[in-house]
Subunit: 133 residues, 2 copies
Amino acid sequence: MEHIKPMQISIDIESATPLFSQLVMQIKQAVQDEKVKPGDQLPSIRQLAYDLDMNNKTVAKAYRLLERDSVIVAKGYRGTFIHPEAQANCTIDLNKWVRKELTNTIQSFRQAGVTDSEIRIAFADVLNQSTGV
Amino acid sequence: MEHIKPMQISIDIESATPLFSQLVMQIKQAVQDEKVKPGDQLPSIRQLAYDLDMNNKTVAKAYRLLERDSVIVAKGYRGTFIHPEAQANCTIDLNKWVRKELTNTIQSFRQAGVTDSEIRIAFADVLNQSTGV
DNA sequence: ATATGTGCCGTGTGTACTAATGGTACAACT
DNA sequence: AGTTGTACCATTAGTACACACGGCACATAT
């Protein structure tokens, strides 16, 4: 049994921001503050869920997103670790990029006279029709 | 009192497609089939609503959309008429363009690993934050 | 046996939107 | 007075989704 840094994470159950999102942000923050460094092992999903008193799935969701952003690396039964280039990848905000793109697209629609309602419907259709990843 | 062509419109109350949408489509179809021609007067909103047994607002919504697409022209107390270039404007499908743009945007998001769920949330945020038309 | 990440099945609650309905009122004209 | 399009107030039912929760199972390793 290895010693794993106790991850000073505080979850606010009252906050409006989702639990999984709080987790993601705080872990990214810890990486940027160099409180954790590449190669460091993270608590297991089940363990962290127990410590923070939340469901496994919620923690798993946070881990899944962090891995997609290459901030952590899951190695199956061996555990989960901080990604070698975690710090650099933390600054890449996929979300901001998405919003920027969407803002431009939506604005062009509006200028063409398309109703917000119509935009929503078209968006929902497109997102559902073509099979997602 | 002028004679107005009786607008052979049949609304299917059971259909999944919204009533206002059925109206829009059928009027556009009538224009393309040349059953109505530029300058022809349309029934008033209230009259058509009475004939089709639906609410004024529903018909008004259809008229509003048709006017935005320059298929009809509302002249206030004088009534509503078929737009001079209605036929040409019928073929311009604003909706198709919107979907095409959205399809491209969404696909680029997906390829970047963004979850559909994340896309939805970002989309809703952007649409609500910036003031719509 | 025990632990790892991961997958699929489901439930419940809250939110947000569409679609359609109704009422009332206005200015501008015949 | 009556009609036109249009604007504002509102409610109702239905749908869709996010979020968090729970149980069960798997392969892979120590």
